[in-house]
């Protein structure tokens, strides 16, 4: 489409978002940075399972991780979220614009009757 270079990242982002656990992890991260151990607790999941989800989210550009000793705390990535936001805004915008144009067309059709 307009920016072909953006497509793979967006696909990865939506694929990452298709899993409810990953969405829940993102919701948790919206409250602030967290470690794997902190994330594993509320989800009753093993740390390796959480790590697998984090890897998907990181690959999709939705989170970033920094090194702090042996821990690697995660946080939301503004750039990744902006890409998703823009795509969704575009879709909603395109649909509403279509229907606003249809309103106009219906007025014209009525006056032609």
């Amino acid at each position: 489409m307009k920016e072909p270079s953006q497509a793979p990242t967006l696909n990865a982002a939506f694929l990452a978002l298709s899993d409810p656990t990953r969405r829940a992890i993102l919701a948790r991260l919206s409250l602030g940075e967290a470690t794997v151990m902190q994330l594993a607790e509320p989800f009753e999941m093993t740390q390796p399972a959480v790590s697998r989800h984090l890897k998907v989210l990181e690959g999709a550009g939705l989170i970033t991780r920094r090194a702090e000793g042996t821990k690697r705390p995660c946080r939301l990535s503004k750039a990744g979220l902006d890409a998703v936001d823009q795509w969704l805004a575009m879709l909603r915008d395109a649909l509403s614009k279509n229907y606003d144009r249809l309103d106009q067309l219906l007025v014209t059709m009525k006056s032609e009757e």
Binding site: R23, R101, L106
Partner: protein
Amino acid sequence: MSKMTIKTEGDRFVVVTRRFAAKPEAVYRAHTEPTLIQKWMLGPEGWTMPVCISEARPGGKIRYEWTMPAGGGFYLTGEYLELEPCSRIVHVERMHLPDPTPDNHVETRFEPDEGGTLMTMRMTLPDAETRSRMLASGMEYGMEASYVRLDGMI
């Protein structure tokens, strides 16, 4: 005030509703006649639809081609499955970007509503993952992200 609603149902459905100040006959025609479709189903500002094929009969072909102002474009193909004049359209469609997206099964109903029309478009995706990839969870998530923005946490 927004007249349009978009919501998800179950894990494979997306439902869009919109009210129009015209009779169902007119809204139905605007959804099936090529010369009318070309006037409104254009997406973002500046896009045009130079090619519009809409054979409104069971088994009839659908093909919409969009051109963007900056050049380039993409197209959608589909087939009509059922048509009940003025009240209901069932069709399948897929976008070509250029690889085809999974089939989106769409039922559009037009009901008389206080002198106008209530349109209900129900999209059924092949599976939960496809729907999520298309928009559903993204929207849910988009809203969460907006709340986060509001609170200035990222």
